[in-house]
Each structure stands twice: as C-alpha cells, then as structure tokens.
C-alpha cells in the first residue's frame, strides 16, 4: 500500500513538472504581456518535434538536441510576437486570445504536414533510460530526473527575476508598463524578449518530454495547454510561485485520480479549477484585482 502510494506520488510529481515547464512560460508571458497564449502548447509540441528531428539527424545526441531544438522554436516565437501579437496588444481580450488560437490551428496542421498525422515513437536517453527500485518497485530513472529538473528551473527563474538587473526590469514592466516605459525601458523590445524566453521554456518542456511520453502526436500541445491553463489559473494568473504549486497539485491530483477513480480523473481537475476561480479568482498567489 505504502509502495503504491509513493509511486503514485512520484508519477504525479513528474507529470506535474512537465505541466510546470509549460505553465511557467505561459505565466511569465501573461504576467508581463497580459496575453494568455493558447499557442503555448504548440511551442511545447514544436519543441518535442524539433528535438526529435535533431536527434535522428545528429547521431542521437539527446543533450545537443535539447539545446538546439528549443532555439529553433524561439525563432518561431520571435516571428509570432514581433509580426503578429504586437499588433493586437491594444485590442480587446477576445481578439488577443483568438489570435493565439489561430496559431494553434496553424502550428497543429504544419506539424501534421511536416511530420505526418500519426504518432512518432521516441528514443531513450543514454544513462537515464533504465529504472531504479524504490521501496521494492521499479521507477523510471528519467522521471526522477524530471522531478529534479522542475525545481531547478523554478530556482533559476526565481534567481533571474529577483536577483538580476534584467529580472528587475521585467518585474517593473509587469507591474507598471507605462512607468517602466517612462523610465527608459524599451518595453516593446522587452515584450519580445520575454515572449521568446517563455517560448523557450515551453519548447524545453517539449524537448524533455520526447523520451518521457514515448509517442509524439500532433495533438500533444493541445492536451498540455489546457492543463497549463488550469495550473496558471489556480496558482493565480501571472504568478510563477502559484504556477509551481498549481502544477504540483494538478500533477498529484491527476495521478491519484488515474489510479483510484479513473472515471472522474479529468472531472476532478476541472472542478478544482472552477472552484478556485469562483472562490478566489486571483488564484493562490495572484494579486487581487
């Protein structure tokens, strides 16, 4: 009993960490740009596919693929922000949401055209491909590695935002765009930078997911973006701390749900989202509107 509980927890944590990697970029972009990016799941998907292709091209060096793949996706993110998103900041919310939704449609179909509509099997990572016994039952080493990566990314983000000059400028622009602009911050350039950085986070999540999910499908972005929305909402839109906690909660909840009440697994996630939105719309750590 204890063994299975621990294993369910671990599985939940590793799942939560993937959602966190996607939700962190989503949250950062929302916090600074004020845009909820539907296409963020597409960056996760593109990250996975780019890494996969680079892997098969370059003698299976996973780590090199993980560095180069997301950089390619960053270029995509740059084009999207610089030439499209920038034109709709002044418009009402539905238009911003729908612009990013248009990119979901475009990216999903482009992936289908380039890589085919079927699923692609993914390779394993040398050194992390086995399993380790935990309390007498085997647990994939790679999932343990992910559970380590998640908090490291969180720590890195925290250090960057709280301890560096760039982070201070980002926080300043997030809290008061006009004031930051008046003080000499080049806000449009900053927006582009933050968007590209958020894109990179999502794409790294996708790259890391390549060995984890086992199969790449064109719909993989859509399923994770909804989880990431849930996480970003319950943590408080724009709050990274909240997104991290939210990702842990959703990961564990869905892991326990899948193991114990599979019928209501998805239902639980969304009812939690609705309850948090109703009871505390600003989420756990968001500032009251």
């Amino acid at each position: 009993m204890l063994t299975s509980l621990v294993h369910v927890c671990l599985a939940g944590l590793s799942k939560g960490m993937f959602i966190w990697l996607v939700a962190s970029g989503l949250t950062l972009i929302f916090g600074v740009l004020g845009v909820l990016n539907f296409a963020h799941g597409a960056f996760y998907m593109l990250g996975a596919y780019f890494c996969y292709t680079l892997l098969s091209l370059m003698a299976d060096n996973f780590w090199l693929g993980l560095i180069l793949g997301p950089l390619c996706v960053c270029a995509v993110g740059f084009v999207m922000e610089r030439f499209f998103l920038r034109r709709v900041y002044h418009l009402e919310l539905p238009y911003q949401l729908l612009l990013t939704f248009a990119f979901v449609l475009i990216f999903d179909d482009l992936v289908k055209m380039v890589w085919g509509a079927g699923s692609i099997g993914s390779p394993s990572v040398p050194g992390l491909s086995g399993s380790v016994p935990i309390l007498g039952r085997l647990f994939p080493t790679y999932s343990l590695f992910i559970i380590l990566v998640g908090p490291l990314v969180a720590l890195g983000l925290w250090a960057m935002l709280e301890r560096t000059w760039a982070g201070r400028i980002i926080r300043a622009s997030a809290s008061d765009r006009e004031m930051a602009s008046a003080l000499g911050v080049r806000v449009p350039a900053l927006f582009t930078a933050v968007f590209v950085f958020g894109t990179w986070l999502g794409a790294v999540g996708g790259g890391l997911a390549v060995p984890y999910v086992g199969l790449l499908t064109p719909g993989m972005g859509e399923s994770i973006i909804i989880d990431a929305f849930v996480v970003a909402v319950i943590g408080g839109l724009g709050s990274l701390k909240g997104a991290f906690l939210g990702a842990l909660i959703i990961g564990l909840l869905s892991s326990f749900g899948t193991s114990f009440i599979p019928t209501f697994d998805m239902f639980l996630t969304f009812i939690l989202m609705a309850v948090v939105l109703l009871w505390r719309p600003q989420g756990f750590f968001g500032e009251a509107a």
Binding site: P94, F101, D109, M113, P262, F270, L277, L278
Partner: protein, 314 residues
Amino acid sequence: MSRTWIGRLCWAAVLLGLLVVGLVGSRFVLYLAMRVMLLAIFALGYNLLFGRTGLLSFGHGAFYAGGAYGMALFYLHLNPDPLLGILVGVAVAALLALVIGFFCVRHTEIYFAMLTLAFGMMVFSLIWNLREITGGDDGLVGIGRDPVFGVISIARDGQFYFLVLLCFALTLWVVHRIRSSPFGLILAGIRENHQRSEFAGVAVKRYRLAAFVISGAFAGLSGALGAMLESNTDAFSAHWSHSAEPILVSLIGGIQTFSGPVVGSAVFVVLREVIERYTENWMLWFGLILLVIILGFRGGAMGAIERRLGGGES
C-alpha cells in the same frame, strides 16, 4: 425604401432560396445546406452572448452536446417523438446553461472565459467517461427520425431538411426580436459599459445569465438537430475546441451584425468543404483566415459590407 425593408427582403430571398434548394437540391447540397443552418443556429445564439453582451465563452460546446445527448437519450430510452425530443434537448441545454451560467456570470473577461472552459470540460469529461450512459468515445448511435405528429415523414434527408429550415427560420426570427427588444439593447449597454448599466439600475448579472441561457438553448437546438441529422452523437462536440467554432464563424461574418453568424456559417462550411477537396489541412487555412480577420477586418464580412453602405445595423 428604408434599410429595414431592404434587410427584410434580403432575408425573405435567402429563405426562399433555401426552400428552392430543399425542393431541387441534390443529396449533397441538401446535407451541406443543413450543416450551414445548424451551425448558423448555434452561432446566432452564441453571438447574443459574444457580440451582443461582450462575453467570450469557451464552454458552449457543452450545451450543444447537452442538446444532442438530451435528445438522443430521450429518443433511445423514453419516447421516439422527434419534436418532443428536440424540446427535451433544448430544455436540457437551457437547464445546463442555467446551472453553469449561474456561476460563470460572476466574472467577466478572462476569468469568465476560463470558468466556461472549466465547466465545459467538466461536461466533456463526464460524457467521455460515463460510458454506460453516453457511450463514451463511441457516442450514442441509432438515433432515428420518426414521423412528426405520427404522420409527416422526416426519415429521408430531403424531408428532414424542411424541419431544419423551419427551425432556422424560427431562430432567425427569435434572435432578431431579442436583438431589437429592450432586453437586447440592455445587453449591448452592458457590453459597452457594465458599470454605467449597473448604476442605471440594471441587474447586470441577471441579464448576463439570461443571455447565457438563451445562447445555451440555441446551442442545444443545434445539437439536437445535429444528432438527428447524423443519427449519432459525438463526445467531442462538448470539447472546448468545438466551442471555438461559433466564435470563428461569428468573427468571419462579423460579430456586431445580425447576419454575421449566418454569413460566417455559410463561408465556414462551404470553404471547409472546398479546402478539404484539395488538402487535408483545412485548419491551417482557417488559422490564416482568422489571422487576416483579426489583423485587418475585425468587422468581418458583413461589417465590411455595412461600412461600405454606410452605418446602421442590418
């Protein structure tokens, strides 16, 4: 001749044209026309909430599915009467919209959108997982079309078409009445400035809820007719990606016009049919169209036409 009369003549011509299509059209044309009308019913109702009241919902697929599954379950387990079935479907959808809307209208903007997404996906997850009742990913199959009042056959598509046309015409009339009623004007007032409406003594939340339920009921009507047309139900009709369809359609046609959702539905269905002849990737093209609309033609097709004609709503 005033603009109202030109508008009325146009609508009469459209309905007459659809009537002729029903009499002479091939099976394929009939099916396509029915798909256009079903989507138009969905979008006309939806746009009361989106274009009129200014609320962006990502959960209306749930009400479409509510209508479809309500109708289907009633048909399969209780009574095969078609009109009764449609009524039950609409009632189920409206009730669902009442319950969900009760919670959702407490927020606006992004929080409203996220709440409707959450509730819609709750409905989807129930349909997906309660296999014994809903058939899960297979959906419910074997929905027949018994004669109306026991005598008028609607079994063939050529016959069922006229029931769809009747429902479409009714929807047009009702939505038009709602838009030009004091109630409809208050909805527009809420969209423009909800605080001012509040101070003017309007119970904003109650009006929002009313718009939510009405749009949900039309989604249910569309769903019930859709289930009859396809003779099965689809779990994914409750998914959020299906909720995006009426948004897309309204935008293509123009969200600030009455005729927008209808024009948008025709463009959407026909264009999709054409694109699918040449390529499987119709989503890519709709993505591009959506981009162009948002960046350049936010009034949609009818908005552009009206601007050319100069002012007023048709």
